[in-house]
């Protein structure tokens, strides 16, 4: 058997395994919207009947709206600030002669692998020691730490992906560094910026641990959701809320991922240098 045929040979065992894996991964999530329309406060089969009562309950409950608004108030500034810092970091990493470049990148990416729990506890200890009152500001600060690695990871390939000679050409045609950034660099990394905004907003919106440790009187949506789990009669509306979160954050993530890949391979103007 020739090599390409061998490589392209369909492997039934692996296919079955892949399908089982995906089902195990996403099946529990599919249950959430299913039971949020079920006419019973207990999550169990058989389903009893179709109802939109739980969604109606959500609509009338003021704390839901308050915590939703709190999440947006945290998420928007966090995504903008994190993306701005990410742009600056990615630009500096790719353009300037940074000593110990890979060490810097590792350091920025570290919050991805350090448990958020540790970060949360450490921040809480530090803030209470400093006498900073817990509020949405402290939550936002925690979220910034969580989001920054995602911003840098989204933006870095963008900055690496385009040809340095484009910026040189801009300088050659008379533009200084500032105008070169606005006229060449910014439009070319734009998809990365949009992707980073969407991604970090979603992460902040969903984040629980930091918010749990660092929030004061106002709570974000995931915290509110968690507090409602104590009341069994509230559970169906928690499911309804979770369904809505899936409905909104999944497309956001998918759009973000799609945009971040947009045009990344269209830059064919890479050249060899003699």
């Amino acid at each position: 058997m020739s090599a390409p045929t061998f490589l392209r040979r369909p492997n039934r065992v692996l296919s079955v395994y892949a399908i089982l894996f995906l089902v195990a991964l996403y099946f529990p999530i599919l249950l959430i919207p299913l039971f949020s329309f079920n006419d019973s406060i207990y999550v169990r089969f058989p389903l009893e009947g179709f109802t939109t009562e739980w969604f109606g309950q959500l609509w009338d409950r003021q704390p839901v709206w308050d915590s939703l608004w709190a999440s947006v108030k945290v998420g928007l500034p966090v995504s903008i600030l994190s993306t701005t810092l990410g742009v600056l970091a990615a630009r500096s990493i790719t353009r300037d002669r940074v000593p110990g470049r890979s060490a810097v990148v590792t350091f920025i990416m570290l919050p991805l692998v350090i448990p958020t729990l540790i970060f949360g506890v450490a921040l809480l200890a530090l803030l209470s020691r400093l006498g900073v009152p817990l509020s949405l500001y402290t939550v936002a600060f925690g979220h910034l730490i969580v989001c920054l690695p995602f911003s840098v990871a989204t933006l870095l390939p963008r900055f690496e992906g385009f040809d340095r000679s484009l910026e040189q050409a801009s300088a050659d045609l008379g533009e200084n560094g500032w105008w070169t950034f606005w006229r060449v660099t910014f439009p070319l990394v734009m998809p990365g910026i949009v992707a980073s905004l969407l991604l970090t907003f979603t992460i902040s919106f969903d984040e629980f641990i930091m918010a749990f440790f660092l929030s004061g009187n106002e709570t974000t949506l995931p915290i509110y959701l968690w507090t409602q789990l104590r009341f069994p009669q509230q559970f169906p509306s928690v499911l309804a809320l979770a369904s809505l979160l899936i409905l909104f954050s999944l497309p956001l993530i998918l759009i973000g991922m799609w945009i971040s890949r947009l045009g990344l391979h269209e830059n064919t103007t890479k050249g060899a240098k003699t």
Partner: protein, 365 residues
């Protein structure tokens, strides 16, 4: 100003990258309106020298003057030069018109005037009506022209070209060479052209600087470089060359004699400058300067040889002639003027002859 009419004056410029010396004490004068080429293999420093002219790399030592102005500490965006990059660096997010008009922002022209200038440029590069094309819809040759237009619209004092034809296929390259030369005459701007392609440099340039290892070996006209190279490195980089080691004998008259290995005693009508009597030299003769004949020619110097190898190239053939006193056969190039001409000397012995004034005498290595 430094007392001559040079438009670009490169004065004792050196460039170090860490401990590596990319440019070694280069001085060059380029006249206004000249088509000047920097020719060398990769790593010869030609591209580094061009980046220093553009302002992307500062010189470690020395200074560059353009139109009498020192370029030391003048950033790229304030230099009176524009560059056509090797990969053209067409902005992928802008259409052709916005690419060409990119450098006009500071001129603060009304839009109509700007578009008019772009249309003029498109006319000049023979791409009229291409203004609204997207960057990714362009072919290599079109990109190259647009990169030219984008630079020329700013009417720079000097246009720098970094191997702009390297990415094009052979036919297109030859066509663009011709157009580039015509364009340069038309706009009258000084062109500094970097290439590793010796044929391209010969075809386009008014003068060429041959570079190797960060140094300029020789600056001359194309014919000057080809016919009177000053070193073995230049002679073998441009075209093909046969070298014969020998010894120079001055006989008190204007002429001289070189006793060579292979070609015997060569009488030179004009003695070369420099080398003393008895100096070890090498004689260089281009393959096309030889003639092959079956009988011994009586009016020119000749040696007897034997055909060792031949290669048919279409318009010309290459013959390799083995001669006594020399290990390596002599390369001879002859035009195939007859349609059914038999290769000379295929039946055995033949005579290799040359004219005395084709002989170039170089220092021995």
């Amino acid at each position: 100003m430094n007392g001559n009419d040079a438009y670009i004056s490169i004065r004792n410029v050196s460039k170090f990258f860490g401990t590596f010396q990319a440019i070694d004490d280069v001085s060059l004068d380029i006249a206004g309106g000249e088509f000047f080429s920097l020719l060398g293999a990769s790593g010869s420093g030609k591209t580094t020298l061009l980046s220093m002219l553009a302002g992307f790399e500062p010189a470690t030592q020395g200074d560059i003057f353009i139109d009498g102005q020192s370029m030391d500490s003048v950033p790229p965006n304030h230099r009176p030069v524009n560059t056509v990059f090797q990969n053209y660096a067409i902005f992928p997010h802008l259409n052709v018109r916005d690419n060409i008009a990119y450098g006009l922002r500071k001129a603060q022209l009304p839009r109509a005037k700007r578009y008019e200038m772009v249309d003029e440029m498109l006319e000049l590069i023979k791409l009229p009506g291409y203004g609204t094309r997207k960057a990714h819809e362009l072919s290599g040759g079109q990109r190259q022209r647009i990169a030219l237009a984008r630079a020329l619209i700013l009417r720079p004092k000097v246009l720098l070209l970094d191997e702009p034809l390297g990415a094009l296929d052979k036919q297109l390259r030859e066509q663009m060479q011709l157009e580039l030369r015509l364009l340069q005459r038309k706009v009258g701007i000084t062109f500094v052209f970097v290439t590793h392609d010796q044929e391209e440099a010969l075809a386009l340039s008014d003068r060429i600087a041959v570079m190797q290892g960060g140094r300029v070996l020789q600056v001359d006209t194309p014919a000057g470089l080809y016919e009177s190279p000053n070193s073995r490195a230049v002679a073998s980089f441009i075209g093909n060359m046969n070298f014969f080691p020998g010894k120079l004998r001055r006989n008190g008259t204007a002429g001289a004699v070189v006793e060579t290995e292979g070609l015997g005693s060569l009488r030179l009508p004009q003695a070369p400058n420099g080398q003393p009597d008895g100096a070890r030299v090498q004689v260089a003769l281009r393959p096309e300067k030889f003639d092959l004949s079956v009988t011994k020619p009586d009016d020119r110097p000749s040696v007897e040889g034997r055909l060792a190898n031949a290669a048919y190239m279409g318009e010309r053939s290459h013959f390799y002639i083995a001669i006594d006193g020399r290990e390596e056969p002599v390369a001879v190039s002859a035009q195939n003027r007859l349609r059914f001409g038999a290769p000379p000397g295929s039946e055995g012995k033949l005579w290799l002859s040359w004219s005395a004034d084709a002989v170039v005498v170089l220092d021995a290595e």
